[in-house]
Subunit: 429 residues, 2 copies
């Protein structure tokens, strides 16, 4: 991906209004900014700026998954009926969000709505002995869920881009150790993408095998979930398991809990032998005894995470990207058509390019300063650098952080230095 | 993606046999090597080693697309019926390879089998004036085609990973200039991925708008196409347009043409106003006159390209990866269980890691030298580096290129130097 780009090279434009049927704030801002395009309810395409954000989130997640031993693969979308019959999840009665499609030479295939079956079936070919374990494998993948409700913009898609990791362990102890590790990874991911301060680990239903699963819930009125948060300990309980018995078990005091709206940005799940049993996913231990593999699943929706960042960090003027996932670190605005301003802007842009700064250069002719400022606020790059007659008179470039009211004048050398340091620290976080 | 990896960390293993129903050489080798997993006919998952190759191909294509002004985006898989009705390609009569699926709240969606409609519909929102053109936008995307015949392994998928770029130009002249540019890009891509010497630009049917399209055809008996090649000029004609009139037009002499089997690894297509007309994709020129946008489409199937590399470069012992797309530059084999060999192997692996060399370390205990050699040949890394009692006695590591019969002994410093230079030149190519 190019590090620098002229706005005249970008085919998208900002818009005054989002489509009338778009009720969510995240999709409204992202559509107005030209980040995404709505194909139908719950289905969005990522335009060039949106893809840049998505890729940055992907890279952060990839780093955190690789750090704890994850191995990436790319599994198919089309799902083989036979595999899903093994786990009893093929029928529309068992799973009511399937998308299915007919194969031309007979039979049906499903569209991936999750990956337990695909992974179990692949790993079955490779796991025989305790020496083959543990395995931590993951995918970035388009996932399809036939939802009827999809009014939350990119926070609830019928098609969405997803990371799921599956763990295959020898026993509960090994599983639990990894489960704690990935909790830390998830905290890192939400911290690094700018929503850590609003994200709480939340006890939720564990489904048919475990007592609890854990969700990472980010506080926002736009969320579809209700949680009960103990602000002291930072622990929360999802409404679905909120009762006196559970609170007693978790040692939480009902009177200290606050009801909050939140969105589930990640979940981690102990699966036990729920899938290894139907897939005969067993291994021989050191004494030659056959034992079932213990599984876990760990998901993050990248579009939902991106939408959540927009929901919780934006202001009235537009999006506010954290430096770590902003499409560009800086938005360079050229104001006015004088030769002096144009020449200076070009010079500064070239310097930023040479320094490897990620910069979007608003070089559009015939656009008023007011419009350029409004677009910069809407698009939300962390730094705005302005070149105008005034800034030139004052001997430099006016730089301002997106959240600040007032900027300051820097020389081009100081500008390069400031932005280089900013990018470096964003990458290291 | 990690640069170095131990084979004991890799959950895949090599296999003696591919599934009995797998008749293609590319899928047989890739399955035996643990590169891919067959989900059903024409549907494959990419396992960790396979994904590494796919990502390298993707990066080469991305570089070449960005070099000529391409802008990447990520369009949705689920396709809105309304859009396809505009171009008259929604019905199963018009397109016989659709996969369609029912939406739970009524209606149907299609699965992307190509992207002209999606792009035209998106660009319609952003193109108004000659100032907005040209636009060159592209996707990497999973594509779905409901094929009945799928016996060519990953060379013909019902689901496949694809790059498509679409060009939007002001007039034929601007279009033709870009068309020539992308021809060069495609030549670069096939050169860089190791099949340039076998790949010929081929005149094929231009469909309803243009007289010809251009295919890039790679010679292989595994191909499904027949072409007539003029070895002198390097030009070829696809059987579908091979007749006296066409040959005369192209100035080709029938007597000099050789019939060859080949696989289409890329195609470029002038679309004229075929899609801009139904989508009202017009722009105002400098005099304010409304004109239709001239389009072109340019596709490459990444899985097919990968499969073609395997078909044309492999030998009886297995895969032979070009350095540019090999999952790892080197395969380090530790032979024998003596402390000396184990210690030395570990030391060399660490040195290679520190030098940033892409290396797969066969550290598996209890595997015979013969098996390790056979696996190294099957997996096909460009360099094999062996540490054994004998190499240790001779004071180093035995290094051998995949296609060479005999290796030579290098010190660890010489090994690092050789592999660093190799990687550098592979990346620069």
């Amino acid at each position: 991906m190019k590090r620098a780009m002229r706005q005249t090279e970008l085919f998208t434009k900002t818009r005054k209004d989002a489509p009338a049927d778009e009720v969510s704030r995240n999709a409204e801002l992202l559509i107005r900014g030209g980040y995404i395009h709505k194909e139908m309810a719950g289905v969005y395409s990522f335009l060039p700026l949106g893809l840049r954000v998505l890729k940055k989130i992907e890279n952060i997640i990839r780093e955190e998954m690789d750090k704890i031993g994850g191995t990436e693969m790319k599994t198919a979308v089309l799902q083989n009926k036979e595999i899903w019959e093994k786990s009893g999840r093929w029928s529309d009665q068992a799973v009511d969000t399937w998308f299915k499609t007919k194969l031309k030479n007979g039979g049906e295939a499903g569209l991936s709505f999750t990956n337990e079956e695909a992974y179990s079936s692949i790993l079955k070919q490779y796991i025989n002995s305790y020496k083959d374990l543990p395995v931590y494998a993951y995918d970035f993948k388009d996932i399809f869920r036939n939802e009827t409700r999809s009014k939350s913009g990119i926070m609830r898609g019928r098609e969405f881009y997803w990371k799921a990791l599956y763990s295959f362990s020898r026993d509960e102890k090994e599983h639990n150790e990894f489960y704690e590790k990935i909790k830390t990874s998830y905290r890192n991911i939400f911290q690094r993408t700018g929503i850590g301060h609003l994200t709480y680990i939340t006890f939720a239903s564990g489904g048919s095998f475990s007592k609890f699963s854990h969700e990472f819930q980010t506080l926002t009125p736009a969320g579809e979930d209700t949680i009960y948060l103990d602000e002291g300990s930072g622990l929360a309980v999802n409404k679905e398991v909120y009762n006196d018995e559970v609170l007693a078990e978790l040692g939480l005091d009902k009177n200290k809990l606050v009801e909050k709206r939140a969105v589930e940005v990640g979940n981690i799940f102990s699966l036990g032998t729920k899938f290894s049993a139907p897939f005969d996913l067993n291994y021989k231990d050191q004494s030659g005894k056959e034992k079932p593999v213990i599984m876990g699943s760990y998901g993050i929706g990248l579009g939902r995470l991106l939408g959540t960042v927009v929901e919780v960090l934006s202001d009235d003027a537009g999006i506010v990207w954290p430096e770590s996932i902003a499409p560009f670190a800086a938005h360079l605005l050229s104001l006015g058509e004088s030769e002096k301003v144009l020449g200076e802007s070009e010079k500064v842009y070239q310097k930023l390019c040479q320094a490897g700064i990620e910069v979007l250069f608003d070089d559009r002719p015939g656009i008023s300063p007011g419009e350029k400022f409004a677009d910069a606020d809407l698009l939300g790059m962390p730094y705005r650098a302005v070149i105008s007659e005034r800034s030139a008179q004052e001997g430099g470039i006016e730089i301002k952080q997106r959240k600040e009211k007032k900027g300051k004048i820097l020389s081009v050398e100081e500008l390069v230095k400031t932005l280089s340091e900013t990018e470096k620290s964003a990458e290291e976080k």
